[in-house]
Structure formats: C-alpha cells, structure tokens
Amino acid sequence: MTATLLVGLAVFGACAVEMVEALTIVLAAGLTRGWRSALEGSAVAVLVLAAVVAALGPTLIHLVPISVLRVVVGSLLLVLGLQWLRKAILRASGHKPKHDEDAIYQREVARLSGLPRPATGRDATGFVIAFKGVLLEGTEVVMIVLTLGLSSGRLEVAALGAAAAVLVVGVVGALVARQLSEVPENALKLGVGLMLVTFGTFWAGEGVGVSWPGADLFLLGLLALYAASTWVLVTYLGRQTFRPKAMA
C-alpha cells in the first residue's frame, strides 16, 4: 500500500514537472503557428511515448530477472533522482537561478513568430516544435514510468499516475495559459527527486541482496532521512548565499 501510493505520487509529480516544461513549448507553438498543428504534434508525441511504455514494459518484465532489473533500474533511479535533487537544492538555496517558464515562453514566441508560415494547410514548423518538445520532455517521464512501474510490479499504477498528470497539467495549463511561472516547479522537482532517490536506494539494495528492516515500511524511513538531509543542505547553503560580507 505504502509503495503503491508512493509510486503513484512520484510518477504524477515527475510527469507534472516535465509536462509544465512541454506545455510552455506547445503554448508558444500554438499561439504563434496555430493550434491545429501544435495540438497534432503534441498528440502524436504522446502516442509515441505511450507506445514505447506499452511495448517495453511487458517485454522487460518477461525477459529480465527481477533482481537484475532492480539493480539496473534502482541505479538509474538513483542517478536521475540525485540529479533532480541536486538541482532543486541548488535552486532552493539560491545557488542556481530558478527555471523561468515565462522567459522561455517569451523566447520561443519571439523565435517562432519570425519564421515564415505557409499560406494554407498544416504548419510543419508548429507541428515539429510541439512534437519535439513533448517527445523530449516525455522521454524522462517514460524512463520514470518504466523504472518505477517495473521494479514495484505496478506498471499500471505508474502509467495511471502519468496519465493523470498529463490530464491535470493540460487542463490547468489551458486555463491559466501564460501563467506557468506560478507552478511551484522547484518544490515539485525536490519532492520527486526525494522519492526517486528513496525508491532507487530501496530497489538497488534489494537487487544486490540487502534486506531492509520492516520491508516496504523502510521506504518511509528512507524518505524521512533524505528529506531531513535535504532541508539541512538547503538551509545551510541558503545562509551561505545571503551572509553579508564582513566589513573591511
């Protein structure tokens, strides 16, 4: 139950973060090049990503032993999770500028507005920009869906979490349109990073033969340990950034 809930939450959060980034590109393409081509490009990319999950998921489960899968998947989750967590800690403590969706949106709009448009029919530029944006941002989501879903044996929960995030961010994005900077992206990234590192530790450990005290419940202990350490790092580095210089 604990693991199922955490898997669903982790995939939902990861997918929401990547969806916000993809949505910025799709909105810029839609408003400058026309909604038809931008939405078609996005839809085709989502179909390609869903097909990859549907094709690779069951195949990997049947071909690769679960212990090997857990070591490989756990290690991948650890690398990915630590990368997300590192970036989120540096941003939260002021050591790295935050991801500015508004600035990215303005830059994309300016770039796309300058390109020539066809007089009639589908706009290939809008289609390709939206397709590439969704596909590239979605690849990371596919990795997370596959790794979390396969290791936990809950691929359907992971896929549902991703689909829910696509739906929620899509609807909210359509309503708030250009206010994507309001989304607490760094907080989401930090939360997802914590969960990826927690699952990565747990499954990589199980894969190499570590026996965790309390089985699945140990996930909560790991999550608490990583969350507390992250808080210490953000607080310490934050103070370091804003400490006034000593008088000469």
């Binding site: 991948l76 650890l78 590192r86 590192v197 990589a204 580095l237």
Partner: protein, 70 residues
C-alpha cells in the same frame, strides 16, 4: 540519417541522460551499489546502513561542487 549517425545520436542521448554535467553522481552511484553488493555477498550486516549514508555523502559532495562561489 545513416545507421552510424543514429547510433551515435542514441549513445549521446544516453550519455547526456546518465552522466550529463554530474559525472560524479553516475560514477559514485555505480561504486556505492557495487560496494553494497560486495558487503551483502560477504554477509556483512552493514549493507542496509551503507547505501543511504554513502548516497547522502555523494549528494552533499555533488551539491558542494555545484554551489556558487562566494
């Protein structure tokens, strides 16, 4: 696009995805997992503590490397 260029692009994608600008994390995770496996195989009971502690040290070192100099 030739098969060679496709393969090269595929390899580049995975390199960027796993290593990127934080090679210390990729190498560190590999070393920590192998060490935990070695300890578990030798029936040394510190495997459960080693993984989280080593990963926290790795994260702290990587964050420290990425901080803005004062």
């Amino acid at each position: 696009m030739t098969a060679g260029r496709l393969l090269s692009a595929f390899g580049r994608f995975w390199w960027e995805f796993i290593v990127g600008d934080t090679p210390e994390l990729a190498v560190g995770v590999a070393l920590v997992v192998v060490a935990a496996w070695g300890l578990a195989a030798a029936s040394v009971p510190i495997g459960a503590a080693l993984l989280p502690v080593a990963l926290l040290l790795l994260l702290t070192a990587s964050v420290w490397r990425g901080r803005r100099p004062r």
